[in-house]
Amino acid sequence: MRIKGRALTKEVVLIDDEHGPMDLYVRALREAAFRVKHLDSVAVALEHIREARTPADLYILDLMMPPGDAMDLETAGYGLKSGVELHRCLRARWSNVPVIVLTSVSNPSILDLLPFDENTTCEAKIDVLPFELVEIVRLKLSNVRN
């Protein structure tokens, strides 16, 4: 599949239960020729992390998501830090995969739980317009390559 004459090469997996803002992010990324997979629940994301043979080129992760039945309610902080747990699972499976934590959470007691490493960055949704996410993703991927 080709869009605007460019081959779809890099795969971005977006893990977020919200659909409204995410649809705009997904569209912007697709228009920039990324292959985008939107996983809209913790259960689906955990399944992807467990089952996928190879990781995507980059993961975009929300922090506050309903844990559903896939995650222990206490572990997920009643949904406040499901993303923290998902990040831990991601790192356990693929230690170097680049991750952008894109969240509306501003509470430092939750953000401080993220074990930030050189391949993980955190962005506030309100500061990142859809076309700006594309730039952030490109930059992140180029940093990883280098």
Binding site: E18, G20, P21, D23, L24, R27, A28, M64, P66, L73, Y78, G79, L80, S104, V105, S106, N107, S109, K125, I126, L129, P130, F131
Partner: protein, 243 residues
Amino acid sequence: MSETSFHNILLPVSELSAACQKLQRQCSRYLNPQRQGFDKKQARARWAKFLRLQALLDLAQATRRGGKQQSLRPVHLRDWGRLCGADAIPYLVTLHSQSRRNDVRRGIIEAIADACAAENRTTQTNVPAVGVFKVSPKSAKASRLQSGIGPSPRCLVLIEGLREPLSLQELHSITVKWVATNRRRLKLIEKAAKKRLAPEERRELKSLQRLADAKRQLLMPLPIKQLSEIEAEFRRQGLWQGA
């Protein structure tokens, strides 16, 4: 006025949802940097409004789901308060006003504390006593908030210490927006002193004076109950027949 049940005064989710979809459509147009006349500042403002509305929608939906209601966690409410800003406070108060859980009340109070300037935190101590009443469509219209999305058209809040119920808009204007409300009131008083008030400004001033009274009652409620008891006692003893 009759008191409504908690479930009858939930946010109009369908209305919020429609507004979110409309904003999303607008965003997809306005957020395109290739669009002619693209303005980044305007795009950012629209995006922020869209996210705020979306957060309110999430809050409303989470509250409706029941069962494991994450939105009832104090820290969660606090995050929503921070995210949605001061506009969300009347919604939070409305949604959770009749909860008997202390942690929910604390969550509301913390959210208010985060969103309000220190001098405007008068609702903190009064939140647990908020009641919800049916109101006329006219008052409901007046209670539309800045976001353009009003709460249920039937709700009005009564805060302990106030003699009459306020619309959510009025509650908002004497707490979060008190400085602006009072500035406008003083401006109209100055105009009134110079006898330059237009008829609609006179009506506005009357309404603002009523709000200023409500604000004073919030800050320092008059001991009406105690005075009534003293009056009743005096009447009983024949010491007072009324003025």
